[in-house]
Amino acid sequence: MSHAKYSVINTHVHNIDGVAKVTGRATYTFDVKLPGMLYGKILRSPHPHAKIINIDTTRAMELPGVKIVVTGKDTLGIKQGIWRRYEELCDEQVLPLEKVRYIGEPVAAVAAVTEEIAEAALDLIDVEWEVLPAVYEPLEAIKKEAPTIHEGVERNVNVTRHIEWGDVDEAFEDADYIREDWFKCSGQAHMCMETRAAVSSFTPEGKLTVWASTQSAYYTQGLLAGVLGLREGDVRVLAPYVGGGFGGKFELDAAMFCSAVMSMKLFKPVKVVFSREEDFIASKRRTPMFYYVRTGIKKDGTFCARESRMFSNGGAYTGMGATALYLSGFFHSFPYKWRGYRYDGYRVYTNTLPSTSMRGFGAPQAMFCSEQQIDWICADLGLDPFEVRRKNGHTEGYEVPGQAFIASCGLEQCINEIEKWVKSKGKLPANRGIGISSCGFMSGGIFNWFDSPYSFSSAVVTINVDGTVELHVGCQDIGQGSNTTMAIIAAETLGVKVEDIRVHSGDTAHCPADLGAWGSRQTLMAGNAVKMACEDAKKQLLEFAYAEMGINIVYDLDIKDRWVHIVARPERGLPYGDLVKKALRAKDGQRIMGRGYYTPHRKGMISPAYSYMMQAVDAEVDPETGKIKIHEVMTAHDCGQPINQLGLVGQLEGAASMALGYAYLEDMPFEDGKMMNPNLVDYKVIKAPEMPEAGIIEIDTYEPEGPYGAKEAGEGLTNPTAAALGNAIYNAMGIQMKELPITPERVLKALREKKEAQK
């Protein structure tokens, strides 16, 4: 299928909200200010595990300017969670009634006339605690004698997940070589530019309006309605601009909940904005994981079987962790064909910050282990890592047994391109190496743990009399540019220009429900809904064009660049604007309106489509200090048909910075349950001057399930990097890095151990 003929898709389109953002006119939740608005602050637990005996708010209430102090007793006390289909996984009271389970957990909230007064009032809340023994690491928490974090949860095991296909034991028996390794993958902060924030306004009519920094206005609406005892329709969530999400902003957070609870009691707007420290210690984080990986392979490089056990540090609550547990195990098999595959994941509660989804959704951890071990096996057996990956990689038409069907796959081309690129670099200087890593990722999940009765994505398109287009979507722009992507798909489908489209999103009162921005789902799912809505509207327009032009019905009509024409005779036609005016008249003055939706069916267990990629990282190690320098990152990437060219480059560079940070800089060390670096001096993220070149080679494929052949592009790009860096260091220094982040001290330790072993 030819797909090079587009007039808007994959052209150089600037973000449609770029000007509003760079001129400071974009209204983020942080910027919302309403008449009579109060400012809320949250009192947080100083203990990792403690019973709340009593909370005395008297002194705080006496402070002039304080309007309310609330605790768990002022709420309905509902245990909530985003896996709301499963009661046992709804385990979090945002303001707990009985006990706290991590340092930073909300205990009470204050609203006052200024932020300063609210903050001062926190010191006047007297809490009586009974401190309980605490446990911080999953391999400790799973022991019999460990303290119980949630009543009735045996050995603190929150969720388990088993994935298996083929006869694993038999496949291992066929293997000529078996290797096993343990790995430790760290947590990571989402580090959104905009911290968690919400402004809630409850009015005497019984309606609640909430501005929220969220990845899914619809989820926020549903979750808030649930914990507040309101109907979903009485809760309106607005999220016109969101300063980043990265997987950390589609659950209910304390800013949303506490502002809403206090507003409902006062009938006044209340704003809660997390400080950077609060965002670090009391939002959620990437899930730390311990991985045991056992792989069997034939001498010729054919993969036989893999068996893995994973123990994750779930922290205090479930959050999105149950999904990360599944996806980590599934993508740990990627992108290869295993005759036998078995994964057992255990998500363990601990008295630390809850873990959840974060860009890559468990896959970056899984790939760090898998892709390094494959390189080590290749070295053990004298095999070529490119060749082995080619030999065992997914191909078009492959079925991951019982899990997924691969309709499009450019993995082999990705491997070929990166192999060429690596070879073109020639021999590298001492202490410098290039590492490779391949992987794939989903284009949206086929999961409905939220139990949404709505289509996964929906869109409504309306054409005004002057030809301008109102596009209403539920998909959420969180800075990744989905509004621009949807405008491009709409413009392409309708045959108009991007500037003809106005995108309406981030408002549950006016936009159709949509699961939101997570799991790389929007381009494929919302994109399909937008395409369907626009095709619907366009069909109606073309009906009038047929009547107007009086042409033979065997001719096809189309619209391109605002020109309605006969496909076979493009010069014969009429301007789009003229057609719209006439069509509207003929419809008794009604605007042309199209509707579209998308819900995946018969697409396996995980996702309708998968992206593929191979990445190379060129890095250098200072053998005396252990310091790592990243020279370059190059990625060959199959995302099907790219839709938003600049958006894709932005995603690639952003993912590289985030994933490199995960690989060698970012860490969240805890001591007795307390995070030791909750600030931007001590928590290290790559800054612009240190960002290496990150290039991309686009591999041309067509995904039949995606709009115009598109697949995911952005989240999956965080998956390969830590492993590619590990492999670069292995190639440069001959050391195997089994723990993240790869710090200078760990490098030196590995170098010392290598020296010892050689003696």
């Binding site: 800089l665 001590d682 200078p744």
Partner: protein
């Protein structure tokens, strides 16, 4: 959250010193790159802030072949980084400034503020001590000049007393066969140093070492001179073995404190490596000079 304070804006040095003498609970601000961080954390909450940004008399870079370099206290890091004469005469200062935090910080932060803040992880301290600099400070009742390596007393403490402002940094004119180098160890190039080392070497006409300085950053409460390593080198013909030995001494003499960024052991090890490397680099510069 930053507390409320009274803002004082003197127009001249005389006025600034008079104001500073008058108010007890008063902190001096210029670029604010150190002070605002501790104020935001609530660690410092002064009643008065004395803003000397507009005291133009203290903003200058002067060089004279005999007298050397004089930098006024309110000169910004960026001005030092971009100074042609400093690039020519003291390239180590430019190299140090280029890695000092971000451009935004260098545009605001001043050399006087940096030294007065006396953070042992600060970059200018070790380099200026290796360059044998002295510092002039004073109050409404008089001025004083001390060698910079005597200026720092403890963590965030200097010889200055309340009412004293940093006025000037003076770096002597470089000797004919002189070299100086500085490097910090960190994960990101523009970050604070986990540890750092500055070294300078002056050679005699016969190539032997006339003088050497080794100064460690973030290896103790103040920028730390390793005189034992310096003494090892003086009078000798320098070579890699001596640099390694000096590094070993530096590693032993250092008093680094472990935190999440590095263990004490790793800090000592890296200080040894950096000392060795900086001495070698300074030596090679001195040879070429």
């Amino acid at each position: 959250m930053i507390n409320d304070f009274h803002y004082l804006k003197p127009a001249s040095l005389k006025e600034a010193l008079a104001m500073y003498a008058q108010y007890d609970d008063c902190k001096v601000i210029c670029g604010g790159q150190s002070l605002l961080i501790v104020m935001r954390q609530g660690m410092v909450a002064p009643e008065y802030l004395l803003d000397i940004k507009h005291v133009k008399e203290l903003s200058y870079i002067k060089f004279d072949d005999k007298d050397g370099l004089r930098i006024g206290a309110t000169t910004t890091h960026r001005e030092i980084e971009k100074s042609d004469v400093i690039a020519k005469k003291y390239p180590v200062l430019v190299a140090m400034e280029e890695k000092l935090a971000s451009i935004q910080t260098r545009n605001w932060g001043t050399i006087g503020g940096n030294l007065a803040h006396a953070d042992p992880a600060g970059d200018p301290g070790p380099v200026l001590i290796a360059l044998n600099a002295e510092i002039k400070f004073g109050s409404s009742s008089g001025e004083k000049t001390v060698p910079l390596d005597e200026f720092f007393v403890d963590y965030f403490e200097t010889k200055m007393e309340h009412g004293d402002l940093v006025l000037e940094v003076h770096v002597p004119a470089p000797e004919p066969k002189f070299g100086c180098a500085y490097q910090k160890f960190n994960l990101l190039d523009s970050d604070m140093g986990i540890v750092a080392a500055a070294a300078s070497v002056t050679l005699n006409a016969d190539g032997t070492c006339k003088d050497a300085r080794v100064v460690l950053g973030n290896a103790g409460p103040v920028p730390l001179r390793v005189t034992k390593a310096e003494d090892l080198l003086k009078g000798k013909k320098l070579d890699d073995a001596l640099f390694a030995e000096a590094g070993q001494i530096a590693s032993e003499e250092a008093q680094p404190v472990a935190d999440i960024h590095a263990s004490e052991e790793h800090r000592r090890h890296v200080l040894g490596v950096l000392t060795k490397r900086m001495l070698k680099k300074a030596f090679e510069q001195a040879q070429k000079a």
